[in-house]
């Protein structure tokens, strides 16, 4: 397998992403978004599209830059460093992967940023596509979808929704699920924004007899997981990368503070009690970064056997981010608790990222299953 170290092209991609994001989407943009009640800045999304980021997983013939999952991870990681908010993972990573698997002609809209997708999978408080109960009842050649989807990232603002519905079998079974590609304004579909701690767009979607046809199906009837499975793994890997960037960003703030804050007439970073905790955090971030690189590589090279690599990455990234933001607040002391200071933003996004697309336990169980116990 290709090395886990960044190659020359990847280093360039990372550096240019870092430069752009520092400038175009610093942490204070998230504050602006929150204070003005928007989930993300459409102007920033346009700039991302112009740089080819929205088409990172779209084939060139559909107008994409087709750089692959490792590259998508590098971009997501840098977005995590500054908490840059956008529908990147929902649309450019997950929807692009699902629609590519189904050779959909909607890919070019994703690539140029004009089509923004949300992925509606979960229905309860915990991730689990096979738990889907939302029914797509057949009526002649058409379907009528009824049920509720929760925790749909970018569900309030996206123009289109990929929704997982049950066309056969019972909740708990991975078979019998079908993926539909619907306009978010379709009659009978109502969306209500949930105000989540990370100030991003998460919505509840209620389907009340929403009509769909065979043309709306992505992939095969009753076999939606064949395309959605890989799309979810791609999203999980990119989210892990974002969380690792988030960890690095929060850690850099904390390490910086340790080097300047004085108490008891000493720079607090000279206290060994804090030094060892900082060194431990850095070690955790380093180990997690390897898992992130590995997940991207495996998705690029053997996508069908990527669950283990992706789940190691998501489990690690979740745990590392949790550690780093908690320690980040603690080491900053009182100021870390204030809204005026940015550390809270890192903590809140880390918590939402921990839940989205499968929490630590979900992925650790996938690892155990893949390892035979």
């Amino acid at each position: 397998m290709t090395s886990l170290m960044l190659n020359e092209d990847e280093t360039m991609l990372r550096d240019s992403a870092r430069g752009f994001l520092d400038d175009a989407a610093p942490v204070k943009m998230l504050r602006t978004n929150r204070d003005s009640g928007r989930a993300y800045d459409p102007g920033f999304w346009k700039e991302m599209a112009q740089m080819g980021w929205t088409g990172v997983l779209v084939p060139e013939e559909a107008g994409g830059s087709d750089m692959g999952h490792r590259a998508a991870g590098i971009l997501a990681e840098e977005m995590g460093v500054t908490l840059a908010a956008s529908p990147f993972i929902s649309s450019a990573v997950m929807a692009a992967t699902a629609l590519r698997g189904a050779a959909s002609d909607r890919l070019s809209g994703i690539a140029d940023g004009s089509a923004i997708y949300a992925i509606a999978v979960d229905e309860g408080t915990k991730h689990g596509p096979e738990k889907t109960a939302l029914q797509a009842e057949r009526s002649g050649n058409a379907f009528r979808l009824s049920g509720r989807k929760t925790f749909v990232a970018d569900g309030g603002s996206a123009g289109r929704v990929l929704v997982l519905a049950r066309t056969a079998g019972a909740p708990g079974e991975a078979a019998g699920l079908t993926l539909f590609d619907l306009d978010a304004d379709r009659a009978g579909l109502s969306r209500s924004a949930r105000k989540t701690v990370d100030s991003r767009d998460h919505a509840q979607l209620d389907f009340d007899g929403v009509e769909a046809t065979g043309d709306d199906i992505v992939g095969e009837l009753d076999n939606g997981m064949a395309v959605l499975g890989l799309a979810l793994r791609a999203g999980q890997a990119a989210l892990s990368a974002e969380l690792t960037g988030l960890s690095a960003g929060a850690f850099a703030m904390t390490a910086g503070y340790l080097k300047e804050r004085k108490q008891f007439d000493r720079i607090i970073g000279s206290f060994q009690a804090l030094q060892h905790r900082a060194a431990h955090m850095w070690s955790e971030i380093e180990v997690t970064a390897s898992a992130i690189a590995n997940a991207g590589r495996v998705l690029d090279e053997s996508p069908d056997e990527s669950q283990l690599a992706v789940s190691v990455a998501k489990a690690r990234a979740t745990q590392t981010a949790k550690l780093v933001v908690s320690e980040g607040v603690q080491m900053h002391g009182g100021i870390g608790m204030t809204d005026e200071f940015d550390m809270g933003f890192f903590m809140k996004r880390a918590r939402v990222g921990a839940e989205w697309l499968g929490d630590y336990g979900y992925h650790a169980a996938k690892v155990a299953a893949a390892r035979g116990f």
Binding site: H276, E286, L308, F373
Partner: protein, 401 residues
Amino acid sequence: MVDFAQDPQPFREQISAFIAENCPKELRDMPASERSVCWGGKRWVFSSPAQKSWLEAASSAGLTAARWPVAYGGAGLTRAQEKIFREEMARLKAPSPLESFGLWMLGPALLAFGTEEQKLHFLPQITRGEIRWCQGYSEPGAGSDLASVQTRAEDKGDHWLVNGSKIWTSYADHADWIFALVRTDREAPKHRGISFMLIDMESEGVSTKPIKLISGYSPFCETFFENVKVPKSYGENIPAQVGEVNRGWDVAKHLLTHERTMIGGGGSGSAGGILGGRSLGAFLGSLEEGVLDEPVIRSQAMELEVDTLAMGMTLERYKDMAKAGGVGNASAMLKYYGTELNKRRYELLMSVTGSEGVEWDGPHGTVAAEWLRTKANSIEGGTTEVMLDIISKRVLELPTK
């Protein structure tokens, strides 16, 4: 003698033919757990004629130190060739012909800091397994604070007079020579008065005493020096010390960084042992039914497996980084994380083997002794606390005051 550079055959074929021809089949057929490691040395008793003939064949082809130059007893292989050599050894199930502190520690130190004559004199004795070396670093009063060693070597004109004691000298009771850190200038700042000295263990006044550990094993000794006369030179341009007098700390530091990367790979006691080459997952899958149904044990096992896999990827990434230009002080992270992980692994192995695990020689073999042995992983080669100090001061550049 085989000259791999001159042979027209592709290297993989040559090396594989060499191993097949020279490594006796009985050694290759023997399960890894039953093979005894060959440490060499003047007093070495070979476990079988096969072990002896494999050492002789491999060393005369330079393959006990495959990457060292031919002139020093190595085979002069390139990095790529060495990788192929290792792959073929693994494929043919051939055991390593020789393990020794000479190969791991003193050799690299001499290659980096020794005189040409020192290399020509000492290195071939190491590669042939003739001289077994041990390492004399720690002292009762100098553990983590290694630079405060007090064993002193006084300048007596044509010789040094050495007095003091060393502790944690691995296998000193079986070793022929010792490379030791000794104080040659008591007035200088502590890092600037140390020399890296080579001493014959047969010299009058050297004695050793094994230390029995909690695991029941005695891999370490105390080593005493009482008015030991060490000649200043072992021949023309073969001084008793490596590097300059009073600059031995540079040599020691170089070796410690080297050692850390090695230990990060798992820590002593992790390589063979109870897992016998199986993954943790495979081992857990083979256990008595129901053990992993216990939710706390199961969750610990899952967390450990996640971290073990991620650490494996990290070792791979750091190996590539090392090849591309070095990882420097970040190697302290590998040592810290790898050894702490190994201790966690053995805590879990003790949990899952339950009442059988606490037997010294029960159905799970030596798991109890291995478990106890892992407790030293985070002490030897620089403690966890010293590693965290290195990361915070040298990598993160946190202030010292």
